[in-house]
């Protein structure tokens, strides 16, 4: 099954295309690479429209060169994808890749070429040492782990938890962040169980329950793992709240995997479509017009990453060095960029926003967060 997944990833990854925003003839052209899962293409369309709209007179034109992928591509595939994007003429920055593991694999390629890499939803703290030109929009796994632990201890008033984690950079990072924060809240960790998409969740859950029955289950994994574990808990007759990381909030895949236990799911998001600010409302409206459905957290994050680079090109020109400086100066000598997901800056001045969503009736509802 896994091999089948790899083959499909390879097949999809060779589909590449170009969306040119405001493609008038100009001596000053910039290309933004986009390496992410294919299901955020609506976000690219919205971003392209906005870039064309914001282009001023004879300012530089911006093209988005994308190379779609599916989650779970092997590291060597991600490296090849990065090399292909880095070789595109006029490339000044890349948005991607999808998830911590893929972003970590691709980071050396971009950093050696001096190309800015903006990761929309990667949380591994290893990215901090991936290179000077890798910038993360999402908070790292220690921050997210602390947020989850605080919700489990204070929101759900749990004293014992079991952690299921996806055995990769994302899952282990989030696991370690959560474990450290749970200890600070005095919450006991009964069991830590590695899983993947092909795991026998019923058996793993049953075996884990023999080692102790938790108040809450924490899943440091994606939508399939989180939903399957919630369903297995319900089937074992131990319905418990399942709190998952940001990687799980992909609807409707999450609720399909959970089945009747979907309402027991909580998941972290970096943004929610019900955000009351005007930028968010406008983005939701445009997104709905393109995709026919409301955007999710990952859509807003990728949209913001693309718009951030486009703004850098507009302000400082299509130069890799200038764009590197622009991003470095955000929040320091330059005000933060106002994105849909909030003010964006990097380094100590960054203030990531985290939301805890409760899935009710197939839709996320904000329970904690701005």
């Amino acid at each position: 099954m896994w091999l089948q997944g790899v083959g499909r990833s390879l097949l999809v990854s060779i589909v590449a295309g170009m969306v040119v925003a405001g493609c008038h003839t100009s001596d000053r052209r910039a290309a933004i690479g986009f390496a992410f899962t294919y299901h955020v293409q609506a976000a690219i369309s919205v971003a392209s429209e906005e870039i064309a709209l914001h282009r001023q007179g004879r300012g530089p034109s911006v093209a988005i060169v994308y190379d779609s992928a599916v989650a779970g591509d092997p590291a060597d595939v991600e490296v090849r994808r990065a090399e292909q994007l880095a070789a595109v003429p006029g490339i000044v920055a890349v948005v991607g890749h999808s998830g911590s593991r893929a972003s970590l694999a691709a980071a050396p390629v971009y950093n050696e070429a001096g190309i800015v890499q903006v990761t929309p939803n990667s949380t591994s703290r290893l990215l901090d040492s991936a290179g000077a030109w890798t910038f993360n929009l999402a908070p790292d796994d220690s921050v997210e782990g602390a947020f989850i632990a605080a919700f489990v201890a204070e929101g759900l008033r749990a004293s014992r938890v079991t952690i299921f984690y996806e055995n990769d950079e994302y899952g282990t990072g989030l696991r370690d962040g959560a474990v450290a924060a749970l200890a600070q809240h005095g919450v006991a960790v009964l069991d830590r169980v590695p899983v993947d998409q092909t795991s026998d969740f019923r058996t793993l859950v049953a075996a884990s329950l023999t080692r102790g029955v938790p108040d809450v289950v924490v899943v440091a994994g994606r939508q399939l793992e989180a939903g399957s574990i919630a369903r297995a808990m319900r089937e074992r007759g131990v319905p418990r709240a399942v709190v998952a990381g940001d990687g799980a909030l992909v609807l409707p895949l999450l609720t399909r995997a959970a089945g009747p236990a979907a309402d027991s799911l909580y998941a972290v998001a970096f943004w929610m479509p019900d955000a009351p600010d005007s930028l968010s409302r406008a983005f939701v409206e445009r997104y709905r017009r393109v995709a026919g459905e409301p955007p999710q957290s990952v859509d807003a994050m990728t949209h913001d990453a693309l718009m951030l680079i486009a703004d850098a090109v507009r302000v400082v020109g299509p130069s890799r060095a200038a764009i590197r400086r622009y991003l470095r100066e955000l929040g320091a000598s330059r005000p933060p960029y106002l994105g849909v997901t909030g003010p964006i800056s990097f380094g100590p001045a960054a203030h990531p926003r985290l939301v805890m969503a409760h899935v009710v009736g197939g839709q996320p509802h904000r329970v904690v967060g701005p």
Binding site: W2, A75, L104, P108, N167, R175, P194, D196, T203
Partner: protein
């Protein structure tokens, strides 16, 4: 300044030595730095690349190997559990789960650059397969824990399959790593070989350049220097005809030109010196021949002056004869002193006397050119230390220049000499009212070969004069305003005390010699006779002898108190006689006064033992002679 030889005009204008040295140095630096840079540029990046590559590769392999070992231990535990007929014991299961937890999270994929794609792919696959393996082992443990051993065994087969896949992935990664390492090593070896080859070529080039440098140095420096050294040796032996070939107009070529010019000047000077020396020899002979008659004339005149039978008119005539004879003798001795200075002898010198002697020497010239000379150098000035002849030469040069300067000027032509003492220095200024010296020439006036006299001048007079002044610890300076004449000032350190001479100055009262027996030894009757007569008039018993042999005979018969001894005589001259009595009668030898028609012969080697303070130059003033005798025998002057 003397021009170069004819050879210099045909010399090629090649590159200068500075250019050659600069070029050779630059080539050496370029060769060495080029070699270093080439080696650094060839090898350092490769070495850095190899090192940079090795670090992540070794880290990734190490991390993956550690994780594999942990997983392998878990797999062994899982096998033992599923091999049992009954569900495994809780402790074995717990141990397997702990090992599994330790293994998970040891992610091998790190964001390192420089890792070859094939190796990274193989490592990633091994890493991902390890993750799956851990997950499957986790399921095996879970089934075992739940007592479902048949399910656990079925899962174990998947574990074995993944285990084999992990090993294959790891082997593949190792092969990729080894191949990449070998490729990088081969590239490094290639770079090293290339660097060695280029280094070899550069070393050969450096050797050739060194040989070229040595050859150039030999031709352009060593050989000309050897020629110059050889030529200097020949000059040292007195060969002034030597000339160097001027092949190039570089620094050494210019040096050769200067050498040729210098030898030409030295040759000219030597010829002049030769004529001058011959003149001096001739003059010495003439002086001796003239001084003796002058001595006879002055002695006779002086003897006759005081005779009662001489009338007043005759006395005036005799006085004129005496004065002119003394003047002629003084002039002759001064001239002789100047042209035959002999060995330098530094003693206290009366600077006023030195100036007076020089003025006497040049007095004829002043008269001919209608030059009014005013001597304001007082006799009361302190004495100075120096050699009399050299001091005289300084003022002869200065006064000769002054004469030349004012000769073409309108009358009145004036040359003034002034003397003063200031801060322990005795200054003498020679000032003329000629046209003065241009500022440009004045700046170089003391350099050799600088002259305003054209072909008549050697350009050495002032140069030599300053050297002589400095040898006497003094100096010579020009203080001149163009258009207002020239003023040269010579100064010398004042002597600590005023010098004293055994020979009294003129003007002293005649000394009484009554009771003394004095032997006069001179080969000329015309001198012996008036001298003995004069001494007898002063009360002495005067005996005479015509040469040293006769004088020794007299000494065997008589006891004498003093001896007046001529130096140049037949049979036995004054020096031989003096040596004889110094040996046999040393006390008497201390009471010998020498009379010389050629005082400069005192500087000859044979005359070194003669006491200079007891030498009187002919024609001698008889009153001075009497006073000297009295001083010699230790008598006071009569009141």
């Amino acid at each position: 300044m003397t021009g170069g030889t004819g050879a210099s005009s045909t010399a090629g204008r090649g590159p200068g030595l500075r250019f050659i040295f600069g070029t050779l140095s630059a080539l050496s630096i370029l060769t060495i730095s080029g070699l270093s840079l080439m080696l650094a540029a060839s090898l350092l990046p490769r070495a850095a690349e190899l090192r940079q590559h090795m670090q992540p590769v070794s880290y990734l392999f190490g991390a993956l190997r550690d994780r594999m070992q942990l997983v392998a231990a878990t797999v062994r535990d899982a096998r033992r559990v599923v091999a049992a007929e009954a569900p495994g014991d809780a402790e074995a299961l717990r141990r397997a789960r702990v090992a599994l937890a330790a293994a998970s999270g040891r992610v091998a994929v790190r964001p390192y650059g420089g890792v070859p794609i094939a190796m990274r792919a193989a490592l990633s696959r091994a890493d991902e397969d390890l993750t799956k393996l851990e997950n499957r082992v986790q399921e095996v443990i879970a089934f075992a824990q739940l007592g479902a051993l048949s399910e656990a065994r079925a899962r174990m087969r998947a574990v074995d399959s993944l285990d084999a896949a992990v090993n294959d992935d790891f082997s593949r990664a190792q092969r990729a790593g080894t191949e990449d390492l070998l490729a990088r090593q081969a590239a490094f070896d290639g770079a090293a070989r290339q660097a060695t080859w280029i280094a070899g070529v550069l070393v050969v080039v450096a050797i050739l350049l060194s040989a070229l440098s040595l050859l150039t140095l030999q031709r352009r420096i060593a050989r000309p220097l050897a020629d110059l050294s050889s030529a200097l040796d020949r000059v040292g032996t007195g060969d002034l005809t030597v000339q160097l070939r001027v092949q190039r107009r570089d620094e050494l070529g210019l040096l050769a030109e200067h050498f040729n010019a210098m030898t030409a000047v030295l040759r000219d000077r030597a010829e002049g010196q030769g004529r001058f020396a011959a003149t001096g020899e001739l003059l010495a002979g003439i002086a001796h021949e003239v001084n003796n008659p002058l001595q006879a004339i002055s002695t006779l005149a002086e003897s006759r002056i005081d005779e009662p039978a001489v009338t007043a008119v005759e006395r005036d005539d005799l006085q004129q004869i005496l004065q002119q004879a003394r003047r002629a003798g003084k002039l002759l001795n001064g001239l002789l002193h100047f042209v035959r200075p002999g060995e330098p002898e530094v003693t206290d010198q009366d600077i006023a006397d030195v100036v007076a002697r020089v003025l006497d020497l040049l007095s004829y010239q002043f008269g001919v050119d209608e030059i009014h000379v005013e001597n304001r150098v007082a006799a009361s000035l302190p004495w100075v230390r120096g050699d009399a002849a050299r001091l005289e030469q300084i003022f002869v040069n200065l006064l000769s220049n002054a004469v030349d300067a004012v000769r073409g000027a309108a009358t009145p032509r004036r040359v003034t000499l002034e003397g003063w003492e200031h801060e322990g220095r005795v200054h003498v200024a020679v000032t003329d009212n000629g046209p003065g010296i241009d500022r440009e020439v004045a700046a170089r006036i003391f350099q050799p070969f600088v002259t305003t006299k054209g072909a008549r001048g050697t350009g050495l007079g002032l140069y030599v004069s300053r050297q002589l002044a400095r040898e006497a610890d003094g100096d010579l300076q020009l203080r001149s305003t163009p258009g207002e004449g020239a003023r040269f000032v010579a100064w010398f350190p004042a002597a600590p005390r005023r010098g004293a001479a055994l020979v009294p100055e003129n003007g002293q009262a005649p000394a009484g010699l009554a009771g003394l027996t004095i032997l006069v030894v001179d080969d000329e009757e015309s001198i012996r006779r008036p001298l003995t007569k004069y001494l007898a008039r002063l009360g002495a018993t005067a005996v005479d002898a015509a040469d040293g042999v006769a004088a020794l005979a007299q000494l065997r018969l008589l006891a004498v108190d003093a001896i007046l001894l001529d130096i140049r005589m037949p049979r036995m001259d004054g020096i031989e006689f003096y040596e004889a009595i110094r040996r046999d009668r040393p006390a008497l030898a201390e009471r010998v006064l020498f009379l010389s028609g050629d005082p400069q012969q005192m500087h000859e080697a044979r005359a070194k033992t003669l006491p200079a303070a007891r030498v009187l130059a002919k024609p001698v003033d008889l009153q001075v002679l009497a006073a000297s005798i009295r001083r010699l025998v230790g008598r006071r002057s009569p009141a």
